[in-house]
Symmetry: C2
Subunit: 339 residues, 2 copies
């Protein structure tokens, strides 16, 4: 194994940022945001209330930006990318609403989860409404290929959530099993959001494959860094507090690695807190200590770097352009969140 | 991206070796070899001739050793592991015979390929015979679960070979598409060979999952290092010469990376030599030069390291034992081949 010196990286270039991407898609994103607000509307007043609670809670809207930038990179001149981008954000929002019900989460992006304010039933049904609206917008765009990619992603995401149920209380989950979950749960939507760009722009098979690969691997890197941050990131990130995953009994890669590398006694601890959910004072600190002692955060970040490298190489063949470079910088941005 | 200093590794410990594994399974392997020779026999004299040409050509028999070590690690006391190990080697041998026909290869392990001596038809049919014998031995063992895992692997391998046909002449193949090929073509058998160990030893779900993950990731690392060696390894390795993949127009990760990172002019070169198979004097040297200039070998090895790390963590939970440690050392051995 090589010795990794992450500092070398910051010497090589200034820290990566989302700004170039934000700037490039700003005008389009303004329209996406308007569409999102309008399509979350309904005469049933609870629907916009619940939807807007989450929609206006300050997510980065990274996924729809991928769609916009990918379409524009191939000089797409139509209107379809706005609707597809809004659909992508709706698919994501619907997933979050349903997730919080399934996970019994109390907080989301630093605010009370919708289910704490309007209840589980409303969260489930408004999620379904957003899914329906997402499909209506996709259909309006009229690209069967884009519909195919996004509807497949919607099914795969649901499959991933179900997979996660079986992983949730099982400490013997392997890294591969965990990866299969996040590949479905997170990476599938990043992948579809990216691939529909070249699709509506009339891109060829190679362009589609490159963006599918970019999105998948960016999504994996993004989720792994998220997992790492939950056991040691700054509180500011995404409104999550350190230890949210721990308190919810989620089994993520830092835990998988620490468990597998731990002693029998340590494994007893992990089974007690995560399988049996018997969490007491000081257990989060103990968990973080074990994760640190087994270098599980560093190695989770290292795994994320691997996927980030694959995502970068996916876009390598395209000519130097502001959109391509901004999309590549997103990879660096996602990984540098961990520093 | 971190800076990787592989030298740190060799300082940390002496170079890894297959010896501990070879020593542990020596007695069992002796019986596997006898079984292989006996089951490759037939009254149709061409069958043992063709089969033994390849069987006696000095492969490392790594895959059956994984089966033996995995079964013994869980204190398996029966006889089934011998037959399963021989089946695994037969599946592998059958694949090689068929591969050489499909790829029109002239050499295999430093000798003329069987098809050069007995023809394509004999190579295909003797491959089929070995597949049949492999299944007969599996059935004799009587474990439906082991049969399920190995027969699934056999189907997946064939699927991978077909996938490779479509990848073969397509320079726009992404890294993910290439990985899907080697996951099927190589990693599936490593995975099955490893998983049937705990299966016949009565291991639980977690043990099976760990060995499946170990085998898969070891297989991926093994194949990626093989790919890297083909563009810069020593001639001695596996009887392959540098550039075999190049001459056969095989698209492997070093080429995928060099192509994606290259200029338009460089991509014209790759398409000419690999898609159109117009290879002239100096083209191999030029290919190696391009691969070096884009650090494609280093990064292929880096990708292999990633999978190697996952394989190691798959076996991390098991108590310290000679078998576990030897299996982990196999990972290091496979990766260090690239140094």
């Amino acid at each position: 194994m090589g010795l990794v010196i992450p500092l070398e990286d910051s010497k090589r270039r200034a820290s990566a940022s989302l700004e170039p991407l934000l700037d490039l898609v700003a005008a389009d994103m303004q329209r996406v945001n308007e569409l999102i607000l309008s399509k979350a509307g309904s005469n049933v007043s609870m629907i916009p209330e619940v939807a807007n609670h989450l929609i206006s809670s300050g997510g980065k809207r990274l996924r729809p930006m991928l769609t916009l930038a990918a379409a524009r990179m191939f000089n797409y001149r139509g209107e379809g990318h706005i609707k597809l981008a809004a659909s992508v954000e709706f698919l994501h929002t619907a997933t979050l609403l349903h997730d919080d019900v399934v996970d019994e989460s109390e907080m989301r992006r630093g605010k009370l989860a919708a289910r704490m304010l309007w209840g589980n039933q409303a969260s489930v049904l408004v999620g379904d409404y957003l899914l329906g609206q997402a499909f209506r917008m996709m259909v309006e765009v009229g690209s069967i290929e884009a519909l195919d990619v996004l509807s497949t992603a919607a099914a795969v995401i649901a499959e991933g959530e179900v997979m996660q149920l079986s992983v949730a209380k099982n400490m013997s989950t392997t890294e591969d099993e965990y990866l299969a979950v996040i590949r479905a749960k997170t990476a599938a939507l990043f992948s579809a959001a990216s691939e529909v760009g070249p699709i509506i722009a009339g891109g060829d098979r190679a362009m589609r494959a490159a963006f599918r690969s970019y999105g998948t691997n960016l999504g994996l890197a993004f989720q792994l860094i998220d997992d790492a941050l939950d056991y040691g990131g700054s509180q500011a990130d995404l409104g999550k507090k350190v230890g949210d995953d721990f308190r919810e009994g989620k089994i993520t890669l830092p835990v998988v690695l620490a468990y597998r590398r731990g002693s029998d006694q340590e494994r007893d601890f992990w089974r007690r807190v995560l399988e049996k959910a018997e969490i007491g004072d000081g257990d989060l600190e103990k968990a973080i200590g074990l994760i640190r002692s087994h270098r599980a955060i560093e190695d989770t970040v290292e795994r994320a770097r691997h996927y980030g490298s694959v995502a970068r190489d996916a876009l390598a063949p395209f000519p130097d352009s502001p959109h391509r470079n901004a999309l590549i910088e997103v990879v660096d941005f996602c990984i540098e969140r961990a520093h």
